[in-house]
Symmetry: C2
DNA sequence: TAACTGACCGACCGTACGGTCAGTTTTAAG
DNA sequence: CTTAAAACTGACCGTACGGTCGGTCAGTTA
């Protein structure tokens, strides 16, 4: 049994409140807002239902608190991803690997945020867009634009589309983890880093054999 | 007001049952299983709640019927996607465009299936994996493998990973449609076919400028 | 000791849920 | 027209829901 994820006891936080948040993030991530009952949270947290309402004014308030904690934590950890040094290739490779690692390390928070961002109503979706992915997305775009000015990245490509591809491929791979288990062909989903490396390789150099280049020999090493 | 999606009146189907299925697929797609009440379905369908139980034995049974109808329809339409003629590039391009078109045309069914496949429990996820995406995924893999044997596709790439990238990018783009509206940078999400074309271009030829090739001039045309 | 506070609980309230049933209307074949 | 099955309905049932309330208890301050 590993420690609960994403909810460390903060100063001024009673153990009951911490238990509520810890149980809540797990249940909401697994079953969604409507699939979770306050009785279920109380039981999982080992506290009374009334105690939850002592700390949070409503189910919605509890959900938002958990959502915001997850968003803040994810945003903070993700902020540092794009700062790596090295060449263009290596930076993208490192970013992708670190982003994927983060998704799996904080899988409860990630699942919760993805759920809300992709399936939630527009209001909450916009909030997540602004608070969590917005900065990283824009940063990634600016990195790609710099790559274009340096002549490394093709100028005929939309940097926003490339950024979306890079982040979206990781996010979707994380989402599809469960269903990929059912496909024996998807060996890339079983070994860590295998997907991220292969994905970045495809995004950078393409799937096709280049007809007149020397890149093939370089890749073979 | 456009016609309801994905639920055509079949022979032996009363108008009430058709209305129930039509309302159900919309509500379940928008709000998920737990967010929908039978009273809500009845009201949206313009029938009594008891009438639903005349046609379906339970809420779960109604949901499964809708899910299976969506799955069958999606599977049938998708089966014909991989049969296109032409060169390797064109086939993949056409497949991607048609798949994306299908996602948006049948957005309710697609949303429902993606929801269930990515967030549902393992049992239902496996069912969808087998009945809907399984065949297409395997077909796509075999096409890519043929591309490898023909020397068009790089041999050092995992065909399954490439297939997953191609289909996953489209699926995630469809899922992220709502949140992409909030990003002014994401112009590629506003114009039809723009994403699919750009995405396939990146997947085929890569993001990087090829150092010693002649492909750049070809692409510029 | 007395006053006060925040954490916590069991019992309860009104409501909406999934589901049932007796009975009515519609449909269509004989 | 008769009749039986199918379509359909309003009223109802038991339950679980989100939320409230009065009160207990440990710890702090004065």
């Amino acid at each position: 049994m590993q420690a609960s994820e994403g909810v460390q006891v903060k100063p001024g936080q009673s153990p009951g409140e911490a238990a509520i948040l810890s149980a809540g993030v797990r249940l909401f991530a697994e079953q969604g807002f409507d699939g979770v009952s306050m009785r279920g949270v109380a039981q999982a947290a080992g506290v009374s239902k009334a105690n939850i309402y002592h700390h949070f004014s409503s189910k919605e308030a509890l959900y938002l608190a958990i959502l915001q904690a997850s968003a803040a934590e994810t945003a903070a950890l993700i902020e540092n991803l794009a700062d790596g040094a090295g060449g263009f290739d290596e930076r993208l490779k490192e970013f992708s690997k670190a982003y994927q690692q983060h998704l799996f390390d904080r899988h409860l928070s990630s699942r919760l945020l993805l759920r809300e961002a992709l399936l939630g109503d527009d209001k909450k979706g916009k909030k997540i867009a602004d608070q969590v992915v917005g900065n990283v997305f824009r940063r990634m775009i600016s990195i790609l634009r710099a790559g274009q000015e340096a002549g490394v990245l093709r100028e005929d490509l939309d940097p926003a589309l490339c950024a979306f591809l890079l982040m979206g491929a990781n996010a979707f791979f994380f989402q599809a983890q469960g269903i990929l288990k059912h496909f024996p062909e998807a060996g890339f989903a079983r070994e860590g880093d295998c997907f991220s490396d292969g994905m970045v390789e495809v995004l950078l150099h393409g799937m096709l054999n280049q007809t007149g280049g020397v890149a093939d020999q370089e890749r073979a090493s």
